[in-house]
């Protein structure tokens, strides 16, 4: 949330986040490269370059696994939300580690040859027609390119420059990158002499990532059905019943689902009600799961804020989101399902004695 796209606004949370990340990565590499070889049972150790290549490759793979688990975990249990806040640093660091892996490959397997190493990388194995012996390196290249593009466009400058929908779509390619890496490993390292531990780690990663996404999808669908009351019951022409006043905590919201991609968050604060779209203008974070802080709706993902009455971010920020009209009959909240253009002012509904 930076006004002039100044590089990064550091704070204690980000520093802590990055410190934990860095410590974990350094620990992984140190144990892999320095400590574990002492426990190896080999006639002669494997080459240092290959050991480092494997250390960085597997580290990037595990990091990618964790990155992809953070999203669903934060949906399943809000306590994981802080992991989401600074996830871009996680991603950028993963791209860096993967690049070191690729560089070891390039300067070891593809070096010392009359053929240029970049040419060799693309030309030395071209048996694309066979599964066994498939040039699995190509899948690694594709994954690395995706990670690079995502790392390069991870800053909010690009988010604002490309617009949230395109940026979001672009960043969905992280799943393609993950799929490529899994295939990269499955067609490469896992085809070699049996290594049950690495095989189990890769299988566990795939099960975890897809399992968590599946579980979250089911949970969201169930939640949508629970919130669908509004769609079904038509109280007065053009107005939907959105629920009862006492369903909403002070400074919190109730989310109402209108259709697959339209959800409305109805906030209760200071004896008033206001409704805005549930999707944050930043990265579509679920605003209805946020809270009202300092008189502003605050997104649970990265803390973007909006005024309650017009859906505009407080100056100097310029983000705007759609607002909705509300009406109160007794203690029943009615919602006009037609979204107003982002930033439209709507007078909050006074709760009065009904509360």
């Amino acid at each position: 949330m930076s006004v002039q796209y100044t590089p990064v606004i550091w704070n204690r949370n980000k520093i802590f986040y990055d410190a934990v990340l860095l410590i974990a990565v350094v620990l992984y590499l140190y144990i892999y490269i320095r400590v574990a070889p002492g426990f190896e049972d080999v006639t002669k150790p494997i080459d240092g370059a290959i050991l480092r290549m494997r250390a960085f490759g597997s580290c990037a793979f595990l990091m990618l696994t964790v990155i992809l688990c953070i999203g669903p975990l934060a949906r399943l249990d809000r306590r994981f939300l802080p992991l989401l806040y600074n996830r871009r640093h996680f991603g950028v660091m993963t791209a860096g580690i993967a690049a070191v892996h690729a560089n070891y490959v390039l300067t070891w397997y593809y070096n010392f040859s009359p053929t240029d190493k970049y040419v060799a990388l693309l030309s030395s194995n071209t048996n694309y027609g066979q599964i066994l012996g498939f040039p699995f390196e190509t899948l690694g290249i594709v994954a690395l390119l995706i990670l690079f593009v995502l790392a390069a466009t991870s800053h909010d400058f690009w988010l604002s420059f490309l617009g949230a929908p395109i940026w979001k779509a672009l960043h969905m390619f992280i799943y393609a990158a993950y799929a490529c890496v899994v295939l990269h490993v499955a067609l490469g390292a896992l085809q070699g002499a049996g290594d049950p531990i690495f095989t189990s780690v890769v299988a566990a990663s795939v099960v975890l990532v897809s399992g968590l996404h599946f579980a979250t999808g089911r949970m969201e669908a169930r939640r949508d059905r629970g919130e669908e009351t509004a769609k079904a019951s038509l109280q007065e022409k053009g107005w939907l019943v959105a629920g009862e006043l006492d369903e909403i905590d002070d400074d919190c919201a109730k989310v109402v689902t209108l259709s697959d991609d339209e959800r409305v968050a109805i906030f209760k604060y200071d004896g008033k009600l206001s409704a805005i779209t549930n999707a944050c203008a930043h990265q579509n974070g679920p605003l209805g799961e946020g809270k009202v802080l300092w008189g502003c709706i605050t997104c649970p993902w990265h803390g973007y804020q909006y005024n309650l009455s017009d859906g505009r971010a407080p100056a100097p920020f310029t983000e705007k989101i759609s607002t909705y009209r509300l009406k109160l009959i007794g203690s029943t909240i009615l919602l006009d399902p037609n979204a107003l253009p982002p930033g439209t002012h709507v007078d909050p509904v006074e709760i009065g004695e009904a509360a």
Binding site: P82, Y109, Q130, G192
Partner: protein, 253 residues
């Protein structure tokens, strides 16, 4: 049931330094598990690497011998018997992923002194050629023996680049190494067949096509896989040569 934010639930806002108390413990536990988990994974993955065997450069055992360079069809050095030691034939490779063709072609006719470093795994030896000098005058009069045919064989195993597998890279075989092996062969390193069953107690074979000539690109789809090959085996002094009919090759796994 639909999830709802509540007034009392802890709410984390990243740019505020105060992390809600209820979350601090959770996050600390997560951080410790995350770092510890990665540490354990590193130990498990790294300490269980497959044994790459004992191949390696013999830096302390430099090679210097007088002999005759031949193309069979890859460059080999034929060294005459010396007293008790029988005649030997060494496979040759250049520096890095290069063959020793230019030295062999230049010095085909006369005896040479060849210096280099052996790369050795069991009875597979590849000499990384350092310097080759023609022996001036008074050279020993030596005619290397012809090949001794050992019949037709069907063997299973893996085609490796002879230098990496001999120990220039550990491990220097398997699918992870396929592209590297391919690059080595392109550079002129001789292909070596690593057989799963021995012929006269030997498992390593220098490869040639069925007429004893250089093998072309048709070998590449077969590299680094478990294959079945058929062809004539012959012996050059102590070196086994496998003259394979690649048209009959089968990929087993």
């Amino acid at each position: 049931m639909s999830w709802r934010q509540t007034k009392d639930a802890p709410f984390y806002v990243g740019y505020l330094n105060a992390v809600p108390k209820q979350l601090v413990m959770f996050l600390v536990v997560f951080a410790v598990c995350f770092a510890g988990g990665l540490g354990i994974a590193a130990l498990a993955l790294s300490s269980t690497q497959n044994d790459p065997g004992n191949g390696g450069f013999q830096w302390g055992n430099r090679f210097e011998n007088v002999g005759i360079l031949e193309l069979r069809p890859y460059p080999v050095l034929r060294v005459p018997a010396d007293g008790e030691t029988p005649a030997r034939t060494y496979m040759l490779a250049g520096q890095g992923k290069r063959g020793a063709f230019s030295q062999a072609e230049k010095n085909q006719d006369g005896p040479v002194t060849l210096r280099g470093v052996p790369v050795n795994r069991g009875d597979l030896t590849m000499i990384q050629v350092g310097r080759v000098e023609a022996v001036e005058g008074g050279a020993p009069d030596f005619t290397p023996a012809g090949p001794e045919p050992l019949g037709r064989w069907k063997l299973t195993g893996e085609i490796c680049d002879g230098k990496c597998y001999a120990g220039a890279m550990r491990p220097g075989r398997g699918l992870a190494h396929k592209a590297c092996a391919d690059l080595c062969l392109t550079g002129g390193i001789p292909p070596v067949f690593v057989s799963s069953g021995p012929v006269e107690n030997r498992n390593f074979f220098l490869m040639a096509d069925q007429d004893g000539n250089l093998i072309g690109d048709e070998i590449k789809p077969l590299l680094a896989l478990y294959v079945e090959l058929e062809g004539d085996v012959e012996r050059l002094d102590d070196l086994m040569v496998f003259k394979v009919d690649l048209a009959k090759a089968r990929i087993l796994k």
